[in-house]
């Protein structure tokens, strides 16, 4: 789903040449058209915030810090791909430019779990 290289993280998506759509995480067929010509693609690490909220109460199965930002980011490239993601930063609002970053949160045993966020 992701590739981690030192402190760098990349989102591993899928791309269907026949439908033209990218998706994340990579699936067996294009989730928007059913096309089965999915190829692996590294997704861009920059995007624009469409929506943003704060999660104040830890949901079941999550052992990381609260509050944390959650929202929808539209990644660069066409046609647009929107993903639900964690968000960080002082200037998170619709239209803000954000960049992908590695974030570690504790798992159930307190061990670091690598995940991703987008930062302003």
């Amino acid at each position: 789903m992701v590739r981690i290289d030192g402190d760098r993280i990349t989102l591993l998506g899928g791309w269907s040449p026949s439908s033209g759509y990218r998706h994340f995480p990579r699936a067996v067929v294009c989730p928007f058209t059913g096309a089965d010509d999915v190829e692996a693609v590294d997704l861009p690490g920059e995007g624009t915030v469409l929506l943003h909220t704060e999660v104040l109460l830890a949901p079941p199965g999550y052992f990381g810090p609260v509050p944390y930002g959650l929202g929808v980011v539209e990644l660069e490239g066409a046609p647009p791909l929107r993903i639900v993601t964690r968000l960080q930063g002082d200037d998170i609002r619709p239209g803000a430019r954000v960049a992908l970053a590695l974030e570690e949160v504790p798992d159930a045993d307190g061990n670091p779990l690598a995940t991703w966020t987008f930062r302003s």
């Binding site: 999660v55 109460l57 199965g61 999550y62 929202g71 639900v84």
Partner: protein, 374 residues
Amino acid sequence: MTDVRITGVGMHPFGRFDGLTGTDMGVVAVRSALDEAGLNARQVQAAFCGTAYGGVAAGHRVLGALAGTGIPIVDVEAGCASGGAALQLGAASIASGQYDRVLVFGLEKMPKGVIRSSFFAPWQEAGGLSPAPAYFALRAQRLLLDTGLTREHLAQVVVKNRRNGVDNPDAMFQKAVTVDEVLAARMICDPLTLFMLCSPNEGAAALVLEGGAEGVTVAGISLRSHLPGNVLGEDSPLCGIEDADITSPTELAATDAYRQAGVGPTEVDVVECQDTDSGRELLAWAELGLCAAGDQDRLLADGSTLLGGRIPVNPSGGLLSKGEPLGASALGQVVEITRQLRGTVKDRQVDGARVGLSHVIGRGANACVTILTR
């Protein structure tokens, strides 16, 4: 096709009932519906039970407690639309001529706190990507950004529904609130405060269906799922595409149900719709054709959706007053609409109602729209 009529309805109130099992509540609702129909559990030919958290053979446990076994008993899970899915199966079995008398019921005893859903994979939970209220909040934000509606409009929906719930003895909350109280309540996920979100809880509802055109009939019912692509859809995908042209599951189901019933939105007298959060209700108004998208503020301003208005929505108090026991919520709406069409509701009757619509939408995604006529 045989016409499908509702000959009995029953409820166990929605709320929190320590010491009662889901089966106990199902028995209360089913017995009440059977009593109204003048039947016992041995006289129905099939049973369809909606539940999401009821566990293995939840329907069998209820029918077993009433000695009504030997018949086919089918448990149905379709998230918040579980009861609607059970009703669609039950109604189809009458319409097709397979059976003459069936029982449709729903029950739930939800865990307390934020609901853990097996829908999400462990890695999504561990990464903090599973908080349902945040998804509702993002959709509500989108609604406000797209339409110019405001937090005050979200609060007005809560005020309307909680006012209606005051007169519903089956509701969990029977206390009115003000716009100021709703806005000042604890923030759960911006822009949704505690009062703008319904409470998962416990309860049961039941219907007896029989063939025939007398009384209240099921004129249309449709259960639909999502089309792909909407990142804010109830199917909670991790990614999506531009979605302006993607028809929502509620619109799909409503189009079917209106066509089956041969009526349009302007002919509907009373509506019960999904108000998981108050933004979800405002979205449904447009999806069901009660108004154009973005015109919800007009309906709020002119009182159209209040009791006594042109098209009262959620006269029962909605899920914001009743709480949401997933398997029972859809059928709770149908019980309310049935009683409204019969004209037997005390204090919150919609005078002269002859066409009623109920709507649920939730995880899956699953949406169900039911149209009843008298």
